[in-house]
């Protein structure tokens, strides 16, 4: 229990650091601590017993629940680990940067938000964490201030705001109808809700979280933002923060409570599309970080599909959930390692570069789902339960998953090709400080599947699975060999990052009310001015008439005439009255 209570300090520690950074006197003091800011959370996450921890803070927001279940713990572990590694990595990565403090400021804020959204079980805390993380990440994305970064930042922030609002709408509608303040109650409420309302909530919720999770169609910011951010930021963006969207689904959707075949199918379709689309577009990329971003889209597609499966099969959810959790963990760590590694690539020290390249094989293979890697385990876990899905998914899903694994493997091959030591060169070699955190991640990735199988007593690391996961690697190796031999990709033009964003912008341009709010205002002003001129002219004319009338009335004879009329009129009224009465 005492260990559990470490959670809160662990989570709030980065927030405290941020606050202390605000004061000039304490800033110097806390700066050295900032790279390690996620460590307390990591420690707390690894030490606590899931499910036991549940705190209720009635005064906080509209009543806060803080707690962690097993899934949450996995998410927190993943996140904290990734933030720690990236934090340490960033210390060296940004050594030369004059915006280091700024980076850490937003880094810590995003981190806090990320932690909070994981540990809170109420709507408000989640929403708060989600917002904090999302908005703070803007600072990370545009860190470089390059034109690309700014553009990415703009796209990101717009979509973030939209996501926020969709989520808000989803939450407020769900809470308004069900009266819930915690996700537990909310899910229960959704399960019994009027389908129309439920569909609205789910639509908004899926889309809102989906923007963060890179759901197909809403993913456009990802390939823009991830490459332009500094490597440690990309790592957490792609590894940790993207999972917030996934977590949002897990929290919001009535998974395991009722079957929602329509939504399930939709999500599976979206997931599959993303999985293949991401790979397809990714393959054309030349920038490894963009490629990685597309890989993330693709991988998130798999997870989306799994969630969709959960919607189809509520009974299987207890099994699917850990699969998703593990997949998230696996993807987060591998992708983090790849981004950090990509940041290392390009040094002038050939020898070092070769080692780093070799190191990158591990997460790449893991993502590809090569045998005995976490990827294999994750894919197997997901695939296992798809077999029980209703037709046609029971056949289609395993097949498509396998194909997707192949695709991913191809993508990874492409990545490794792009990152090969000879491909890039830069002047300075990365220092040891930079390599160490990345290197520290590799054994974790390597050992993770074993730890996890032990933890859940699973048998997925068996030969059958190995065989199942081996063929994509072999096929890929063959394909790569052919491609390299034939030089097929040399002339391939990369799909511009953000792919369908162009469609989006074009659509918006058509429907944009005024292209520029300024011109709307200008038009308004001209209208006003014109009206005013006309009005002024009119008023002037009236005033002139006024003055003439006043002059007329001021004439002695006219005025006296009026007096006579008044006297005669008053009398006339009376005399007339008498006259009428006498008749």
């Amino acid at each position: 229990m005492i260990l559990n209570s470490l959670l809160l300090p662990g989570i709030l520690w980065p927030l405290l650091l941020v606050c202390l950074m605000g004061f000039r006197t304490t800033r110097a003091l806390v700066l050295p601590l900032t790279p390690w800011a996620a460590l307390p959370a990591l420690v707390a996450a690894s030490l606590l017993t899931p499910g036991e921890t549940r705190w209720h803070f009635p005064g906080l927001l509209l009543g806060s629940e803080i707690g962690l279940d097993a899934t949450g713990q996995v998410f927190l572990l993943l996140t904290a680990l990734l933030w720690t590694v990236s934090g340490v990595y960033a210390r060296s990565y940004l050594r030369q940067s004059n915006r280091r403090e700024e980076f850490y400021f937003f880094f810590l804020l995003s981190m806090t938000g990320n932690f909070i959204l994981i540990v809170t079980q109420d709507l408000f805390g989640f929403y708060f964490g989600f917002s904090l993380m999302s908005f703070a990440a803007y600072g990370l994305i545009i860190h470089d201030r390059s034109a690309a970064a700014l553009r990415a930042g703009r796209v990101y922030i717009i979509l973030t705001v939209i996501a926020e609002l969709m989520l808000f709408a989803a939450l407020v509608v769900a809470a308004g109808i069900s009266g819930a303040t915690t996700f537990e109650a909310l899910r229960a409420g959704l399960a019994v809700m009027d389908p129309a309302d439920r569909n609205l909530v789910i639509l908004l919720g899926v889309a809102g979280s989906g923007i963060k999770a890179g759901l197909f169609g809403l993913h456009v910011w990802l390939p823009l933002a991830h490459p332009v951010a500094p490597a440690p930021a990309s790592a957490v963006l792609s590894g940790a923060m993207i999972k917030a969207g996934l977590l949002g689904w897990l929290q919001l959707l009535p998974l395991g409570l009722i079957a929602l075949p329509g939504w399930g199918a939709a999500m599976i379709l979206l997931g599959l599309t993303a999985a293949f689309y991401g790979v397809t577009v990714g393959l054309t990329q030349r920038d490894p970080k963009t490629l990685l971003a597309y890989s993330s889209i693709s991988q998130m597609g798999v997870m989306t599909m799994a969630v969709g499966a959960g919607l189809l099969m509520p009974h299987a959810w207890p099994f699917i959930l850990p699969a998703i959790a593990f997949y998230a963990l696996h993807h987060g760590l591998s992708k983090g390692a790849l981004f950090l590694g990509a940041g290392l690539a390009g040094g002038s020290d050939r020898r070092q570069q070769r080692w780093i390249w070799l190191g990158l094989w591990l997460p790449a293979l893991a993502l590809a789902g090569a045998p005995w890697t976490s990827g294999m385990l994750a894919k197997q876990l997901v695939k296992t339960h798809t077999l029980y899905a209703p037709a046609p998914w029971d056949v289609l899903l395993p097949l498509l998953l396998s194909v997707s694994a192949l695709a991913t493997t191809l993508l990874m091959a492409r990545l490794l090709y792009l990152l090969r030591p000879a491909a890039r060169s830069s002047t300075a070699a990365p220092v040891a400080d930079l390599i160490a955190p990345w290197a520290a991640l590799l054994p974790v990735i390597a050992l993770m599947p074993w730890w996890f199988t032990a933890a859940i007593n699973a048998s997925e690391m068996e030969t059958e699975s190995v065989m199942d996961s081996l063929w994509p690697v072999l096929v890929t190796a063959a394909v790569t060999w052919i491609v390299l031999r034939l030089g097929l990709f040399r002339t391939l033009q990369p799909v511009p990052a953000g792919d369908i964003l162009t469609l989006w912008t074009r659509a918006f341009q058509r429907f944009q009310l005024p292209p520029d709010p300024g011109s709307f205002s200008a038009g308004w002003n001209t209208l006003q001015a014109r009206t005013m001129t006309r009005l002024t002219g009119f008023i002037m004319a009236v005033q002139e008439k006024f003055d003439q009338l006043e002059d007329y009335l001021s004439r002695w004879d006219v005025a006296l005439l009026c007096a006579i009329i008044l006297a005669a009129g008053s009398t006339g009224i009376g005399i007339g009255f008498i006259w009428i009465n006498t008749r």
């Binding site: 002695w556 004879d557 006219v558 005439l561 009329i565 006297a567 009398t571």
Partner: protein
């Protein structure tokens, strides 16, 4: 008897029409001087009407003030006006002049409207008068009932100086105000002294003592017969006017304290007496019956002085723009 009544009727009718005709001529004659002369004639005719109406007191006042003094004031003013504007203003308004109006049509319209309205008003007011009961005593019974305790036997004087003496008090103030108002308009442009007409001079030398005597008589007789303070005052004032016309000017010393005292003495006496009676009788201007006659005479005498001084000084101011030296200028 019928014949006498008819004759009276005819006379009255002629008089009434004469009044209207004179008024019309006076108001619409082409020449201002003629207009004023006609107005004076109108005043005299009015006096005749008052006599016909058994209002001898009014007739006296009208003759002295309405026709005499007002006429003198008007003539003097006209004379000043002509010298001032250096043109013969008499002929200026040959026609009933309108201020320039925007459109002749509007002007014609408004003139027509005016005539129409005035005719209607005349008819209305005539009807109103006609509809009054043909017999009414007004307050004459009340006056008669209290005449004995009023201290005088002339009912008009009784009303003026006893029953409605408060009105008279305020009237004295009105006179004073007129003087003050005229004085406050000082700064009239200098006026060349006209050589006095010799005939007028002789006349005034001769008339002055007579007028003073007449005034004293009127004052004295006012208690019982037509006459009284106003009539006496106006006669006295007229004397002053005559003197002024003949070129006589009061000495500067006289124009200060004595004049001020003369102007205010009537009102002042009223006020002092009023306050005295207020203290003694708890009622403003309530004279003890035994003293009423004497008090009225005292008041009348002082009022006569004031009225005379006022009227004379008004004439002086209007005719010559005589500057009443005010406090500050006194010191200079």
């Amino acid at each position: 008897m019928d014949g006498i009544i008819f004759l009276q009727w005819a006379f009255d009718a002629v008089l009434g029409l004469g009044l209207l005709w004179l008024a019309w001529r006076a108001l619409n004659s082409s020449d201002l001087f003629k207009a004023i002369v006609l107005f004076i004639a109108f005043g005299l005719l009015m006096a005749l009407a008052w006599v016909r109406l058994n209002a001898s007191d009014v007739a006296l006042a009208e003759a002295a003030i309405g026709a005499g003094l007002t006429g003198a004031l008007l003539l003097a003013a006209l004379a000043r006006l002509e010298t001032m504007t250096d043109q013969n203003v008499s002929g200026v308004s040959a026609h009933p002049a309108h201020p320039p109006s925007p459109t002749p049509a509007g002007s014609r319209f408004s003139r027509g409207l005016l005539i129409l309205l005035l005719s209607a008003s005349t008819a209305g007011m005539g009807y109103a008068v006609w509809s009054l009961p043909s017999y009414s005593t007004g307050l004459s019974m009340d006056v008669a009932a209290h005449l004995d305790s009023s201290g005088v036997s002339n009912p008009v004087t009784a009303v003026l100086l006893n029953f409605r003496s408060y009105d008279t008090l305020l009237e004295m103030i009105v006179l004073l105000l007129a003087v003050l108002g005229v004085w406050s308009l000082d700064g009239l442009p200098p006026q060349p002294e006209k050589p006095p007409a010799t005939v007028l001079e002789t006349l005034s030398r001769f008339l002055t003592p007579v007028f003073i005597l007449v005034a004293a008589y009127l004052l004295w007789v006012g208690a019982d017969a037509p006459g009284g303070a106003f009539q006496a005052g106006s006669v006295l004032g007229a004397t002053g006017v005559l003197l002024l016309l003949s070129g006589w000017r009061p000495r500067a010393r006289l124009m200060q304290w004595p004049l001020r005292l003369a102007l205010t003495t009537g009102a002042g006496a009223f006020i002092l007496l009023g306050l005295l009676t207020l203290l003694l009788e708890k009622q403003l201007l309530a004279y003890p019956v035994a003293q009423a006659g004497r008090m009225i005479l005292l008041l009348e005498s002082l009022a006569t002085v004031s009225i005379a001084a006022t009227l004379a000084i008004l004439f002086l101011s209007v005719s010559s723009g005589h500057k009443m030296k005010t406090g500050k200028e006194e010191k200079e």
